[in-house]
Amino acid sequence: MSFLLIVSAQSTVQLLNNQFDSISIVPQGSVMEIYAQNVSLSNSIFRGFTFSSAGGALNLVLETLSIEECSFEEHNGLNSDSSGVLKIEDGNPEENKVISGSIQNSTFTGNAAPYGTVISAEDLSIQIIIHNSSFVDNHATAFGGVFSFSRTSSSSILITQTNITQTNNNSTVFYPQYSAFAVNESEESIQISNSTRLTAIGQVVGNFIETKGVSKTVTTFGNDFMYTAKIASDVTSNAVLKP
């Protein structure tokens, strides 16, 4: 029992126990744009979004993001500059705050976009924790990665007990140097540990991490990390998985 309980100190936009299915934006725009301090998505299904926007399917301008028990399935970024499922932005970059994100017990399956198919973040400082989640067959159809970080500073992504599986072929991957993680001119720490598995299967398996531009620092470390690259017998690319 407390003397005084203030529940409004950190107000949040909450989406819980919802289902969003087969939503299209024509000709351009994100499916959702949320500008708020805190955003929480839980126990919800997001399926079958089609959109054309550099802001991605969910354009989130915030300070903290929490995703728990959600599934994101079969979203398609259509035009050439579309990012993917989650585009995270800093609404007040002059304040130099660190944006924090947490993804737990969630799945991302069968999504496609030119870059940042699952998460893209640009021009910010962000710390993301992903735990006990699954990323299966999310395709970067052009120049970027499934996770894309561009011009980030003092940023990190920690992935634990998570499955990342890519089954690719030439019809789904048009850029053979696509990668699971694309880091561009960023200061980024990628830590993968505790039974996380990254599996790439198919004709084009891409790279594990691709760095472009003048990235300041990109470090990767972890333990108990398992990866497998199974190149199909009719492989047409010599790109391989590089841990």
Binding site: M1, S2, F3, L4, L5, I6, V7, S8, A9, Q10, S11, T12, V13, Q14, L15, L16, N17, N18, Q19, F20, D21, S22, I23, S24, I25, V26, P27, Q28, G29, S30, V31, M32, E33, I34, Y35, A36, Q37, N38, S53
Partner: protein, 226 residues
Amino acid sequence: MLDTFDRDVKIGDNSIFFISIAGNFFDTVNVTASSDSSVVIEDYQMPYSSINISNISFKSVTSEDTFSLIKAVNVVKTYFTKHLIEDIDINGYFVLYTGTVTSNLFIESNTLSNSQKLSFFSLQGDQCNLIRFQNNQVSDLAAQQTFINVAYGAMTENLIFQKSSFNTIIVANDPNDLCSVEFMKINIKGESVVMEFRCLKIIPSSISTFEIYSAFQLVDTKCLSY
């Protein structure tokens, strides 16, 4: 004179003022340019009062001009519940809500289906305190503007969307309009209002330190005593 005094005291204390609009049917309506909405409530802000708008059926409503089914401006605690909306062809919103302060707004258990150009709701104002949107079923719609639009300068209690289903919705802006549209746009421009306590003194001392720290966001602890 005494009667007047008594009534004023009641108004100031716990009187409840209640407006209910329920159980109406709008069927096969072609709206002309003389109106911008079917139901309008404006400037109802009596303390301790609430408004209930429920169980209205809108079916086969058409309009060539901008038109909303329900319009509310500067009203207090409001419930929009259990409406049935189908076969609508209007360029507007089911609920168009504007007000300086939106406090306790509930949009619950509504069903929208098989409609053209209709968007769900637009809420705009300076500040919102507790907006709850739940148990709504929406399917087979083609909208021409942002389908769910929430824009406030600040938020002091959570904005909650829950237990709702959206299926097969196309948001396509007017071909003459170059602006992008979204299915859902939530724009809380300012930071959430945080209550601050400075130079706080708590008496008696039977409250544990743990409870105090869990209960407050302490801004200036230097002068905290308890």
